[in-house]
């Protein structure tokens, strides 16, 4: 196995090596969260990719779709491919990332993500959809996966006293990225649009270049702490807590523990419950409150949810530093169950305010689930391979990305086909979501420390 020292390369890329990123005395650890945010604010754009869908159905027809224009169903695959490759890249490159350090990983993520946009611009120019699939979907998706996990271990190492808050800050950026990308993309397309051109290609080029530059700033700023570093005044707890290990588990060994699969299930179920609703939020709010919520108001509702998704990442992950990870997830599942069960009732009494409040809290816990999981992994498996383990656990996200929307869409269709009014069609879905959260609650309740026989030998930890 190659060690961190062996991973150093020569030549012009020497500055990317882990050995060049070790912080010198006097470096402030508070520079690391903005470095992580540089990456996460960019890759969070993926949630806003749908703003390109309609314009890309009019690349030839300009004002309306021509027969040779791409169809929405074909364009939907761009996002799906990107999310699949996010999961694959995170799972497959985690060990490499642990070895080479955050700077090289961020640098590679920037080239992949920004490069994905540039290749997609070529695809738009040539009107070849497969090039867009390859560009944004495959290459961009790899950039997403690499970028997502690249700062996690670094942040946990810099903030042993507040690992939840530190990773929460970075992953909050992923939630906030869409809020920047959506209006920015629309504005850019308006600037580049002409009577004979929709402006997508130029927007892709600008976004690709901007994202490469922005992410590179993060790669330049990021540092890893010197070996044995601890924050000033920090004293590791003398009496370790039951679910916070001081040992380390190898990434390959982690996959042999029940704890990995319990956490996989916990993340998958928490995300499934949120992601299905997030994708249908606009239609759901209008159908549950006909005449009360207009299309414009529904867009505002979606915006509000993305805000709570972002804030929840920071709030819940930070809270988990004080109340513990397992308790935090207990709240997600227990409170989530109650709120999902209440939602149909809010529709029955026609209370938009209560409906919005319920969903705001639900979505904050959806985001909180993403942001709290790295610290939960650190507590259970130690810090040595937390980045690589996190990468493999993110396959739960990919799975939930399929389960969630399928559950919501198909149950709704089934209900309407069987004569249920549109306003009531979501009730069963909500109760099923509450049931999923009950399963998640049980999985989380079953969590216990990893057996000692899975722990690494101390000499292997430093290798």
């Amino acid at each position: 196995m190659a060690t961190a020292a062996q991973a150093d390369s020569g030549g012009i890329f020497h500055w990317l090596d882990r050995s060049h990123t070790v912080a010198k005395p006097g470096f402030s650890r508070w520079l690391v969260p903005p470095a992580a945010l540089c990456v996460h604010l960019c890759i969070g754009q993926v949630y806003a990719f749908s703003v390109f869908n309609l314009p890309m159905t009019r690349l030839i027809g300009i004002t309306e779709s021509a027969p040779d224009d791409w169809k929405l169903t074909e364009l939907g695959w761009i996002f799906s491919i990107a999310i699949v490759f996010l999961g694959l890249a995170a799972a497959l490159t985690g060990t490499w990332l642990d070895r080479v350090g955050p700077r090289k990983a961020m640098f590679t993520a920037a080239l992949c993500f920004g490069g994905g946009f540039l290749i997609s611009a070529l695809g738009v120019h040539l009107h070849q959809l497969w090039i867009v699939y390859l560009g944004y979907g495959v290459l961009g998706g790899c950039g997403l996966g690499l970028g997502y996990i690249s700062p996690v271990k670094t942040l946990i190492t810099w903030f042993p006293d507040r690992p939840g808050m530190a990773t929460g800050m970075a992953i909050m950026g992923f939630g906030g990225g869409a809020m920047i990308a959506s209006p920015l993309s629309v504005w850019l397309m308006q600037q580049f649009a002409t009577p004979t051109h929709v402006g997508v290609m130029e927007t892709f080029i600008v976004l690709g270049l901007v994202y490469i530059c922005f992410m590179m700033v993060g790669a330049v700023i990021v540092r890893v702490p010197p070996k044995g570093w601890a924050p000033e005044g920090y004293v590791a707890p003398a009496q370790p807590k039951k679910l916070v290990t001081t040992e380390h588990v190898h990434v390959d060994q982690a996959l042999k523990t029940p704890q990995f699969y319990l956490l996989w299930g916990v993340l998958c179920l928490n995300v499934t419950a949120g992601i299905g609703v997030l994708g249908q939020a606009s239609a759901m709010s209008q159908e549950m409150f006909p005449g009360q919520i207009s299309a414009a108001a529904a867009a505002g509702f979606v915006g509000l949810l993305s805000l709570f998704n972002m804030v929840g990442r920071f709030f819940w992950a930070s809270t988990s530093d004080y109340i513990g990870r397992r308790n935090t997830y207990m709240i997600f599942f227990a409170l989530g169950m109650v709120l999902y069960a209440i939602v149909p009732w809010t529709g029955n009494i026609g209370s938009v305010a209560l409906f919005v409040a319920c969903y705001a809290v639900i979505i904050s816990m959806y985001g909180g689930g993403f942001a709290t999981i790295p610290a939960y992994l650190k507590d259970i498996f130690g810090t040595r391979y937390v980045g690589a383990i996190h990468g493999r656990l993110l396959t739960a996200w990919s799975a939930a990305g399929v389960f969630g929307p399928v559950l919501v869409n198909y149950i709704r269709e089934y209900q309407i086909d069987h004569g249920v009014a549109k306003a009531d069609a979501y009730s069963v879905t909500m109760y099923i979501m509450a049931g999923l959260l009950l399963v998640g609650f049980v999985l989380n309740w079953l969590m216990h420390p990893v057996g000692e026989h899975h722990h690494m030998n101390p000499e292997d930890v430093d290798a």
Partner: protein, 45 residues
């Protein structure tokens, strides 16, 4: 493991770096939040 602690530098240069770094990520984030809130207001009108 050794306890190799080092003191964080609270010098002016470090403070400037911190302000620049947080401003660099803070401005686009606040712009995104502002745009989102502006849209969300429609929900309550």
């Amino acid at each position: 493991m050794t306890e190799a602690k080092h003191h964080e530098d609270a010098s002016g240069a470090n403070k400037v770096k911190l302000i620049l770094a947080w401003t660099f990520v803070g401005i686009p984030l606040l712009w995104g939040v502002y745009n989102t809130l502006a849209k969300a207001v429609l929900l309550f009108k």
